[in-house]
C-alpha cells in the first residue's frame, strides 16, 4: 500500500511539470494555431538561464524564477516576430516544422557548448529538508513544485477565462479579423501570447533544474509526453491541459507501480484512444 502512495506522489510531482508545460503549449495552439515544437527546447533554455544566472552572476533561485522566464519570453517574442509570423496564412504543419527546426538548433548549440552529462543546480537553502510522511519521505522542494505549479496554472486559467484580457485572447482564437475590426491590435496580442506561453515553459525549466538537472536534452525527453497531454486534454482547452497534465502524471505513477515497463508508453496509448473516440480531446472543442 505504501509503495503505491509513494509512486502516486512522484507521479503528482511529474504531473505538475506536465501541467505547466502543456498549459503554455495549449495557450499557444489555442490562440496562434501554432504547434510549438520548440516548447521543450525553451523549457531547457529556461533551466540553463537559471543555471547561468547562478554560476555567472551569482543570482539565486528565487530571482531566477522571475528573470529566466522574462529572458525566454523576450526570446519568444523575437522568434514570433521574425519567424513564426510569416507562416500564419499557411498550413499549420509548417509552424510545426519550423519550431522543430528551432528545437534542433537550440539543442545542438547547448550540446556543443555543455556536453550532455548535465550541470547540477542546487536546491535552494530555504527549500531543503522535507517531511516524513510514513509511506515516504517527501522532500520540501518537491512539495513546493506541486504547490507553485498549481498556483501558476490556476492564475493563468483565471486570467484567460475571467478577465477582459483573457476575453480578447479567446475572441482572437475564434475570429481574429473581427477582433481587429473592433480596434484590438491582434498581431501584438499574438506576439505577447507567444512570449507568455514560452515564459511559462521557462518557468517550468527553472523549477525543474534542482530536480532533473540541467541538460541540453531535457526538453526532448519531455516534449513528446507534453504533446500527448495537450492532445488528450483538448488542444485549445486551458483547463483541459492542466487537469490532463496532472492526470497523466498520476496514471504514469500508477503504471510504474503495477507494470513499470509500460510507464513510458501508457500516455501514448491513452492519446490514441482519446483521439479515436473523442477527437477534440477530453475537454476541447473541435477547431
Amino acid at each position: 500500500m505504501q509503495a503505491i502512495f509513494g509512486q502516486l506522489l512522484v507521479g503528482l510531482i511529474n504531473g505538475s511539470f506536465y501541467a505547466l508545460l502543456s498549459l503554455g503549449l495549449a495557450i499557444i495552439f489555442g490562440l496562434l494555431g501554432v504547434v510549438n515544437f520548440a516548447h521543450g527546447a525553451l523549457y531547457m533554455v529556461g533551466a540553463f538561464a537559471a543555471w547561468m544566472l547562478l554560476t555567472m552572476f551569482g543570482i539565486g533561485y528565487f530571482p531566477a524564477l522571475l528573470l529566466a522566464p522574462a529572458i525566454v519570453g523576450v526570446i519568444g517574442v523575437v522568434l514570433e516576430r521574425l519567424l513564426l509570423r510569416r507562416l500564419y496564412g499557411l498550413d499549420p504543419l509548417y509552424g510545426l516544422l519550423l519550431t522543430f527546426g528551432l528545437t534542433l538548433i537550440a539543442e545542438g548549440l547547448f550540446h556543443q557548448a555543455y556536453g550532455n552529462s548535465g550541470q547540477s543546480y542546487p536546491v535552494p537553502e530555504l527549500l531543503r529538508g522535507g517531511f516524513q510522511l510514513g509511506f515516504m519521505y517527501l522532500p520540501l522542494y518537491r512539495a513546493w513544485v506541486v504547490g507553485v505549479s498549481l498556483v501558476v496554472c490556476a492564475a493563468s486559467w483565471f486570467v484567460i477565462e475571467k478577465t477582459k484580457l483573457g476575453a480578447y485572447l479567446r475572441a482572437g482564437t475564434e475570429n481574429p479579423k473581427l477582433l481587429q475590426a473592433f480596434g484590438v491590435n491582434v498581431p501584438v496580442m499574438f506576439t505577447i501570447t507567444y512570449g507568455f506561453g514560452v515564459a511559462l515553459a521557462a518557468f517550468a525549466g527553472v523549477m525543474a533544474a534542482p530536480v532533473y538537472g540541467v541538460t541540453p536534452l531535457m526538453g526532448s525527453s519531455v516534449i513528446m509526453v507534453v504533446f500527448a497531454v495537450v492532445v488528450i486534454g483538448g488542444m485549445g482547452s486551458i483547463a483541459g491541459s492542466i487537469f490532463t497534465g496532472i492526470g497523466v502524471g498520476l496514471v504514469e505513477g500508477l503504471t510504474r507501480y503495477l507494470y513499470p515497463e509500460a510507464s513510458a508508453v501508457v500516455v501514448f496509448v491513452l492519446m490514441a484512444i482519446v483521439l479515436l473516440v473523442r477527437p477534440a480531446g477530453l475537454f476541447g472543442r473541435e477547431r
Binding site: 509503495a3 509513494g6 550532455n116 548535465g118 547540477s120 536546491v123 516524513q132
Partner: protein, 408 residues
Amino acid sequence: MNRIVRIVLPAALLALAATASAQAPAKGKLTDGVVKIGVLTDMTGYYADLAGPGSVVAARMAVEDFGGKVLGQPIVVVSADHQLKADVASNTARRWFDQEQVDAIVDLVSSSTAGAVMPIAAEKKRITLLSGPGTTAFTGDKCTGYNVHWTYNNWALANGTGREVVKQGGESWYFVTADYIFGKSLEEDTSRVVKSAGGKVLGAARHPSPGTTDFSSYLLQAQSSGAKIIGLANAGADTVNCIRQANEFGVTPKQSLAGLLVFITDVHSLGLDAAKGLYLTTSFYWDLNDETRKWSKRFLEKHGKMPTMVQAGVYSAVSHYLRAIRAAGTDDADAVMKGMKATPVNDFFAKNGRIGPDGLHRHDMYLVRVKAPKDSKAPWDYYEIVKTIPAAEAFPTVEAQACPLARK
C-alpha cells in the same frame, strides 16, 4: 519507363553476378606506412568525465613516451565521439577501418558501443582494446580473437565490492540497474556473488540509460522493498545522480548504497560528504605508489583532473600494443594479438598482468573505501585501500569465461 526497366534490370543483375564472381581480394596491406590508433569514446555525455578527452590525453602520452614512431613509421592518434550511441560507434568504426587505415580502436567506454564495434573489428581483422566497458561476456560468449578487455570487468567489480559488502552484513539487496547490456551484466554478476555468499536479492528496478536524470521512482521502489543494500548497477552520471537523490529522499540512513562501479571523478563531483564510506573496486588509484603518483601528476598537468582507471588503462593498453608491434615486426593483427597475449604487462598500471586466450587482461584489483572529509589531507586524496585482490582471485578463470575461441 518500362523500356528502361527492361534494359536496366538485367544489366544490374549482370553486374551483381560479375562482382560476386570476381571476388576482390581482401583489404590492402595493413601497414599503410603508419600505425593509426583510434580513441573512440564519449566526449560529451554521461561518461565523458571518466573517459572522454582524458582518454585521448592518455593515448597521446603513451605514443609520446614510446617515441612517436614504431618500426620507423609514425604513430598517429585520431579520436571521435560516439555519444554513447551504438550506431554512431559502429558507423565511425567502419569508416575508420575502411577508409582511414585505423589499425586499432581503444577505449569505447560503454558496453553498447563496444558490443557494436567488436564484431566489425573482428571481421576486418583490426584490434579493439576495451578500457571502460564492463560486460563480462566480452571475453566470454561474445569474445572475438581481436579483442583485449583491458581495465576491469563486471565480474571483478561484483567479486570485490559485492562480496565485501555482504561480509559486512548487507545480506538483502535491491538493484537500481541501467537498462542496457552493461547494467544487466553487472546486476547479474553481483546477484550471483550475493547469493553465493548467502545473501538474498529482493528485486531490481531498471531505468533507461542514458537519459534518466530523475531516479525518485526507482529509489522509491528500492526503499519499499526493505532491502538493506541498494546496489547501483550503473555508472558515471547515473550513479552520481542516484547517490545525490538517495540523500535527498532520506533513503540513506536506513538503507546503504553500494556503488558497484564508481570512479574517482564521480567521488570528486559528489564530494566526500555525500560519498564517504562507499566501498568500491578499482584497478588503479593515483596514490598507490611512487610509480602511479609520478605518472598521474603528469596526467594531471595535461588534463586538469586525476586519472580514472579507464584513462590509466588506455595508456597501458596502447603502450603494450605498441611494444607488441615492435616485437612482432609488423602491425598485422594476428601477429600482434599473439604477441600481446604472450608477453606479461609490467607498467605502473599492472604488475605481471596477463592477457588470456580469451582476451581478458587479468591483473590485481583493489578494494577501497571512500574517506570521510576529515581524513582527506589533499585534493584528490579520496581513497583508503582496504585490500589488494590478486589477479587469480580478482577475475574469472579462462574455463569460467568459456570463450569459444579459447578452447583448444
